[in-house]
Amino acid sequence: MSTSTFSRTPHGGPSRTGPSPAAGSPAPAGRRKRRRRSRPVLNAIAVLAALVWVFPVYWMVNTALVPTSELFTLTPRFVPFPTSFEHFSGVLRDEKFWSALRMSAIVALVVVVLAVLFGFLAAVAVSRFRFRGRGALIMLVILVQMLPAEALFISQFRMLDDWNLLSSVPGLSLLCLGGIVPFTVWLLRGFIDGVPVELEEAAMVDGCSRVGAFFRVTLPLLGPGLVTSSVFAFLHTWNEYNLALIVMTKTDHATLPLWLRSFSSETSATDWGGVMAGSTLIAVPVIALFLSVHSRMGSGLVAGAVKG
């Protein structure tokens, strides 16, 4: 099923491509010989770049594990030994963290379920039916990706205000859903296109109805697609800051990013250990999920874009 692609996706968030390590260009013999001399240098540069890029992530975890007494010294501590979990336990004792976690989890759950359900239905229509307005729908999906969220939030705020949906789960879920569902359609459409219609037709020849064939043949093959699009909908909602800032005006309805913001600015001298522990707790599930989907995506993102 890894043949499914979502080529040329015009999406904002973490659109994935997974060039597997094996996809590297196989070098002709002559080139390989010449290249060998410079290779150690290039390897060293690559490792250096990797370290530079990963350093802030490492620094977050490191700071979260260094005891407070060691943290605010004029020489930074580069390794978290001795290790202390005081920052983590401090965050976990914070009532507001738990309420923000609940809020984020509920909104994410609502958005994931609705986005995947709605997106799946629409993807089936686009992929398996020919109907009038199909082209317009695809164009709509592309256009929506281009719409700058920052250019809309004023009227989105006014709209939710009118409907008394500010600081509510339905309000935030609605806006997040609108933002991610076009991408879900796009992604799932690629996965459904990847399952040959002939498989369904074979089942219909064997006596299945059209719907039955779809559910018995195609749906079981769509597992990876459904998982992937769920993960993206989750990431999109879990990471959302701008919309949450606009919509969740009451502080006791904060989501995790809003909680982190207030947590780091509520005192004049920031408790960086605690803030980094909170950041780590928010980021770890996302990084884990992201790495898990990455291996699933294959290198379909730009498949065919070069060869035409």
Binding site: P148, A151, L152, F157, L235
Partner: protein, 317 residues
């Protein structure tokens, strides 16, 4: 009426069956359509309407909004402060995009030439960065650039820049934009690197081999064969970066909160936010937002039309 009366009953039945099969796709599409219309379409229309109205604090307390035609646009586009914001955003965007594209494609090229283990190390590092939530990223960078205990100031002062000890980065506009640009570049590079790498590694091995047999040097092969073939992908990523960087919000908004004057550091995103949510001047904010929208569409028009044409071709097939 030349129609054979015996045939007429059959026609409505066929049409009915036809209509039923035609209804299914529309029903399947309906939920997505409704969600997008309610969450994005309606606010978009409303925003355009609001941009032609005087819609301030008084209107929030029930007074009917007054139609003012293009006044909001005229005010926004003739306000020197707004023009500075516009200019600043464009410069900031270009700097970020150029840095991101250079670093991203450089890393992509690096991935094609290094050993397998080094490539894997680089890819894992980039994936970690890519997955980080925006808010967490900004917070971590604030800590890196903390004036007193931040590791950046420590490093700089140990490298001999003695003036950097205790330097408050976000206090002046230049420092704030530097930190914001570093954050934007740092978090955008993984996407660019991975997509460019995917583009580069799609160049067929035979083509490279042919160039090699014709005596092209490694640099020549890269410049004249690999790069042109991967260019479409790189261009698309670059265009997306322009669109995204033009409307950076979170980075600036957060950094502004422990820094100096917001007037000197606003970009389009934060300017709209402060006009609308902050000052309650929805009419003006909507006009500015619409300007941003038009700017985005102008920038991406060619890309969108290419995509739409591809879709049409695919549909026709």
């Amino acid at each position: 009426m030349t129609t054979d009366p015996g045939l007429t009953p059959a026609v409505p039945a066929a049409r009915r069956r036809h209509r039923r099969t035609q209804l299914t796709p529309y029903l399947l599409v309906a939920p997505v359509f409704v969600a997008v219309i309610v969450a994005l379409g309606y606010p978009l229309v409303r925003q355009i309407v609001m941009s032609f109205q005087e819609f301030g604090l008084r209107q929030q307390f029930g007074q009917a909004p007054e139609w003012v035609g293009l006044d909001n646009y005229r005010t926004v586009l003739s306000d020197p402060a707004m023009l500075r914001v516009l200019l600043r955003s464009i410069v900031f965007c270009l700097v970020c995009v150029v840095l991101t594209m250079v670093a991203g494609t450089a890393l992509a090229v690096l991935m094609t030439v290094v050993s397998r283990w080094a490539r894997l190390a680089l890819q894992v590092a980039l994936l970690f960065v890519w997955a980080m939530p925006v808010m967490v990223t900004v917070t971590v960078w604030q800590w890196l650039f903390d004036s007193r205990y931040g590791v950046v100031n420590w490093l700089l002062s140990h490298l001999g820049f003695t003036g950097m000890e205790g330097h408050a980065w976000t206090a002046d506009p230049m420092g704030l934009f530097t930190v914001a640009a570093l954050i934007v570049v740092w978090m955008s590079v993984p996407l660019v690197a991975f997509m460019s790498y995917a583009g580069l590694s799609q160049v067929p091995a035979e083509v490279m081999e042919a160039a090699s047999l014709d005596g092209a040097s490694a640099w020549r092969r890269f410049r004249s064969v690999m790069l042109p073939l991967a260019l479409p992908v790189i261009m698309i990523v670059g265009l997306l970066q322009i669109v995204w960087d033009l409307r950076v919000f979170t980075q600036i908004y957060v950094l502004q909160q422990n820094g100096g004057s917001t007037d000197d550091t606003n970009l389009l995103g934060t300017a709209i936010y402060r006009l609308g949510i902050g000052q309650g001047d929805y009419g003006m904010a909507s006009a500015l937002a619409t300007v941003v929208l038009i700017l985005t569409l102008l920038l991406t028009w060619k890309y969108i039309s290419t995509l739409v044409n591809q879709q049409k071709e695919a549909a026709a097939r």
